[in-house]
């Protein structure tokens, strides 16, 4: 069965849909967690520490966090590998372009591939910046995420990279959520408007919720 799924273009789309929905669920949780920054350093840092102690005493310190990280890495890799292979197939299937060009699909649909690449690069930078601190500006302090976030968003490039990536995320989710529903066979004529509405609301809430943090730092609400 796994072989049938992976070898088929329809099956690979299923892999993309499922991995995409896993990441989307994570993003909603991540966005809600981020908003705690507006309630001060104490609450935000306490929340960040709690992430490491989820499931205790059954789970050891950081076990749950690592479990989530493993699931996410598997989802990202499955999503990216399927996207790469499917894109190669798509490009090969249409080798010659029309002389008379007429793009009709929505902007969100046409930017899925480049948007995905931007998001992939963003994730690498984001982890190096705020998880490992490798490329962090102004001295990364493990265990003090509030200060680290303020540092990042006090630089112009930190704000630009983040905001551009979150706009790309909104577009990606807008087409991606609805597409995942179609790929998994959950769409129908009567449900189409509802699914599109949910996709738009999710895209808008995620983008606004994430961008609120750099805007908060830039306006001095968070400092």
């Amino acid at each position: 069965m796994a072989r049938t799924v992976w070898d088929s273009s329809v099956g690979k789309k299923t892999v993309m849909a499922v991995s995409g929905l896993i990441m989307l669920l994570y993003l909603v949780v991540h966005m809600i967690g981020n908003l705690k920054i507006f309630f001060g350093a104490g609450e935000f840092n306490h929340y960040a520490h709690w992430l490491r102690t989820i499931g205790e005493p059954f789970m050891h310190y950081e076990w749950t966090l690592w479990l989530i990280r493993v699931v996410l890495v598997v989802a990202v890799v499955a999503h990216a590998v399927s996207a790469y292979q499917l894109s190669r197939r798509d490009i090969r299937a249409r080798p010659s372009k029309y002389v008379h060009k007429k793009p009709r699909a929505t902007y969100a649909t046409r930017t899925m591939r480049w948007g995905g690449i931007i998001l992939g690069l963003f994730i690498v930078w984001h982890i190096l910046d705020l998880t490992t601190g490798t490329v962090h500006s102004g001295g990364f302090q493990p265990g003090h995420p509030y200060q680290n976030v303020v540092d990042t968003f006090s630089t112009w490039y930190g704000d630009v990279i983040y905001i551009v990536a979150m706009l790309a995320l909104g577009l990606h989710v807008r087409h991606g959520f609805w597409s995942a529903a179609q790929t998994l066979g959950a769409g129908s004529r009567s449900r189409d408007r509802a699914l599109k509405a949910v996709a738009n609301v999710l895209a808008l809430l995620l983008t606004a919720g994430f961008i609120a943090v750099p805007v908060g730092v830039m306006t001095g609400v968070v400092s």
Partner: protein, 249 residues
Amino acid sequence: MKLTLRVWRQRDADAEGAMSTYEVDGISSDMSFLEMLDVLNEQLILAGEDPVAFDHDCREGICGACSLVINGDAHGPERTTTCQLHMRSFKDGDTIDIEPWRAAAFPVIRDLVVDRSAFDRIIQAGGYITAPTGSAPEAHATPVPKPDADFAFEHAECIGCGACVAACPNGAAMLFTSAKVNHLGVLPQGAPERETRVLDMVAQMDEEGFGGCTLAGECATACPKGIPLVSITSMNKEWLRATRKVAKR
């Protein structure tokens, strides 16, 4: 009407093609698009040139032989087949670009004619039912619920012209394949092959080098028979169901 036509000319499958420009005059707005091309070809033959090769057959919009991407639209600006497109959709003095279907699985044979036998092989892979031949069965022997009959009929309207593939940015045959899968899969007569049909037809579709679906929706916009985009969703559902069922066998 006087028109400027920019037409894709290509001697054979291996030759390099290019757009050639022609002028046609005296076109009536009541002519079909193909009749307008007939006028061009008469003009070319009289001038001692090769006529433009294009596919056509019934010229009634039911056979699926005609093709042509007209000004970037498969079958032109109206939702119908090229043979049922009339020159009243254009204005005097217009420049019209005419190109063949573009997809790796539909190689150009000559000018505007492409080889669509990949579709035949997708049908051969599962677009049939196993029925006893001989005398016609009693029509009421197998009841079909009205909604199912409507669903099947909507998909049976597909004429296999390939406009969906031509319009798709990925050269995908998902709409065509889904029309056939949904048409037969919902009927009691198609039930014995319900699982193998979708699995084999999708596998053949991949084998032929068609692209995958990114739900751009251009296929359903181009389809002269109005097969809806949601047909692809129904096929995905069928494919997932069949994959689970066959794995259990």
